[in-house]
Amino acid sequence: MNAAPALKLEPAVETAAPALLRIVIVGHVDHGKSTLIGRLIHDTGSLPDGKLEAIRAISERRGMPFEWSFLLDALQAERDQGITIDTSQIRFQTAHRDVVLIDAPGHVEFLRNMVTGAAQADAALLVIDAAEGVREQSRRHGFLLHLLGVDQVTVIVNKMDKVGHSAEVFERIETEFRGYLENLGVKPRAFIPVAARDGDMIHGRGTAMGWYTGPTVVEAIDACEPARPLDAMALRLAVQDIYKFDDRRIIAGRVESGRVSVGDGLVFLPSGKLAEVRSIESWPQPSAGQEVEALDAGRPFGITLDREIFIERGEIGALRLARPSLAHVLKTRLFWLGEEPITIGSKLTLKLATAEVPASIASIEAVVDTGSLAESPASRIERNQVADVSFSLSRPIAADPHAQNPRTGRFVLDQGGRICGGGVVLQTFEGSKRRASPNVTPVASAITEAERIARTGHRGAVVWLTGLPSSGKSTVGRALERVLFDRGGHPVLLDGDTLRTGINGDLGFSKEDRSENIRRTAELAVFLARQGQIAIVALVSPSAGDRAVAREIGGAHFFEVHIKASVDTCAARDPKGLYAKALAGEIKGFTGVSAPYDVPEHPELVLETDRLSVAESVKRLTAGLEEREVLDANAHTLDFSI
């Protein structure tokens, strides 16, 4: 036994180790990925002792020249056939980075394993054989990397020794493939000519390619960045479970994006329940004064709420003013890995964050050829194909378009208990509680939101004014209408009484009719809001349950304002003489006198019209809309004198 080597202690306890960089290596089969990896590990001095001898011994035993690929191709079948079947990982270090290198199989048979490897990566090395050039799998891998959100791509043109280290061959391949990637919307970081077998341009530059002045592979790796957690995005809490192991009821899950703090007012979707964060729990229990006040993106969370609400695994918690969509229909781009093809009407389970929902294919918009990027109509999707597909969900889930939030905008498809595909959400369609028939696919407007905002200066919104009769809803609503119109906007006043003379003319004042009145008005309002209008709704809407339905229909556009005045003030105003009649018993079930009014618990704004003037009320209302980013705060100065 050798004497133990002398120890060299590192100065002080090393503190926070920097985040790892995860790199996947992809490319057509036999283009030399595994050899490249073996060389990379060896040339950076990261190969464990004895591994070199072990590989030499195994290569000899099998009667082969030294096979670098045996380092990661550890399965017997892989070595027997000289092919990588499944993804594998190995850690190594460059001078500046700690790297996890993910090897992915290149053969189209094993695309599902390539996807598993690539989905974990921050960056990619895409290997192309210089003698063979760009192949179909090279393009397919490039396409999938982009779909999986891996956009730091460095292309390695390998086996340069087989083409005499020719600069022309290299440049030809670079031009062709750079063009392909740029058509996809991917800007490659570098193209590097490499001869992996000899180690040229991996760590050392070698002598055969003096014409190349760009980075070596190790230098390119050092220039990559680990993926940043999504702190700056809207808060999304994915609920994994609810625990009641002791006297605390803890909602547990992960902060997918944004930041959650004690005191935050949350909404959970799809249930629509509201609550505030009372505490953030952790174990071991922090000492007094050391409690956790906030958690950033990527952290596991355990929170208690200020009230008992029934929510379940699968829900997403968010801040009320920046909530995800409640989607019944998803328009997506996906890749299919299952054995059997899928068609319109195929039933699958869609899993997005912690939600799982039965879904059926409502329509197939196109199949995408990953080679030419051409989109063509299709009635079925085969294994390994990419397609644009709309799903009809059997119940709504919370989701975001991928462009807005990559974590809540991506999903996998499960068939028979096995993951068979995945994709990203292009658009969400909110619906009412009515289930969308599989033959009905909503059509999006031809005008984009940006175009509408450019014309009107504002986003669409549903400004829901609720309060007792004569509290001032219509007065404030009309004043807001005038102010918005004067600055070039598109307000529309939906006054409850006016609607009851037209579209709601068939409704009375029973409980059911009031609910239907509110549902219709909310659907109308949100339809206008989605077309960029500010729908100002003035409706008594006394029932908290009905208003909750309106809020769910209005979704992200909903802005509830409590127009608040005491019954006495309202009765004193009584412009229509209704309070007098109600107090005399001539009108039954009159809100404020003989029927209850549920005071809103968490409105976005309260306007006390017994104290405030109309001008002052409208000023606060527009300030609220600016804060909500419905109105542009830097636009015109508004004239509040009315």
Binding site: N2, A3, A4, A6, L7, K8, L9, E10, A16, A17, A19, L20, L47, P48, G50, I58, L71, L72, A74, L75, Q76, A77, I85, D86, S88, Q89, R91, D98, V100, R112, N113, V115, T116, A119, Q120, L148, P229, Q240, D241, Y243, F245, R248, A252, R254, E281, S282, W283, D296, G298, P300, G302, R313, L337, K351, V412, G417, R418, I419, C420, G422
Partner: protein, 269 residues
């Protein structure tokens, strides 16, 4: 978040998913540094106590220090501890080389425990960097009827979405899921985390008379390495400079080229 926070967050997510989605799970406790970290992570995930049992499948050949550790910490950590014994060596495949044969007792022991308790998921502390076939693993890895690992046809796993289904009719016949929460952790990560959190350890990991154990298998098939490291800081310093693999003292890994793969496809850890 630094690297340990990232790894910790991922492990906690995996543990919570396993608890939420599976019916009856248990955590395999080998008493070594990796499974102690796993128990610690589970306590974080579930706010103090594991809501499922910890199981020790015992070959009877572990170091005596390990048994003492087990007694003490099962109590201190409030574990619901299940002890199962492995069958004798005669019951195991005689064509395997000797160390592999010893290790295969463990696989048999696992199978019997699975049958007895009807678990549909077992949480195990394997890591990718330990050994090349383990590097091919998934976070949630299905084991077929008779407990075998079909490495040629693993289901895809992406975006923290895992395969969590075991067909009910196969459960009775040994099919289950292996859950690997610390798959992405390396040996150094384990030590750094142990130091950061103050997780207790068996003294055999520290040098005694110029020797320490890097990895703890059965006493008769584990060899110590030369070392002077007597504290966690010294162990980490030593690991930074070594190129000797962690399992170099584990005889079973080196017997034949395919011994380890054969063991794993038959259901070993």
């Amino acid at each position: 978040m630094d690297r340990l926070d990232e790894l910790e967050a991922q492990s906690i997510y995996v543990l919570r998913e396993a608890f939420a989605k599976l019916d009856k799970i248990a955590l395999l406790w080998s008493l070594g540094k990796d499974s102690n970290v796993m128990i610690w992570l589970a306590r974080k995930a579930f706010f103090g106590r594991l809501p499922f049992p910890a199981m020790h499948v015992d070959t009877g050949k572990k170091f005596k220090e390990m048994y003492a550790f087990r007694e003490r910490y099962a109590k201190e950590w409030g574990l619901n501890l299940i002890l199962e014994d492995c069958p004798p060596i005669e019951a195991v495949d005689p064509s395997l080389p000797p160390a592999a044969r010893s290790a295969a007792r463990k696989t048999e022991g696992l199978k019997l425990a699975l049958e007895k308790h009807g678990f549909d998921g077992l949480i195990a502390g394997i890591r990718r960097d330990e050994e090349a076939t383990r590097a091919k693993e998934r976070f949630f890895s299905p084991r077929g009827v008779t407990g075998d690992w079909n490495v040629k046809d693993q289901p895809p796993e992406l975006w923290d979405q895992f395969n969590t289904t075991v067909p009910p009719q196969d459960r009775k016949r040994g099919a289950h899921l292996r859950i690997h929460p610390i798959l992405q952790w390396t040996e150094i990560d384990i030590w750094a985390y142990t130091r950061r959190e103050g997780i207790p350890l068996i003294p055999l990991y520290f040098a005694n008379k110029g020797l320490r154990y890097r990895s703890l298998g059965d006493e008769d098939i584990t060899r110590p390495v030369a070392s002077r490291a007597t504290t966690v800081d010294e162990i980490i310093a030593e690991l930074r400079h070594t190129k000797v693999p962690e399992r170099s003292g584990r005889l079973l890994d080196h017997e034949t080229e395919d011994a380890f793969e054969r063991l794993r496809t038959a259901g070993y850890l």
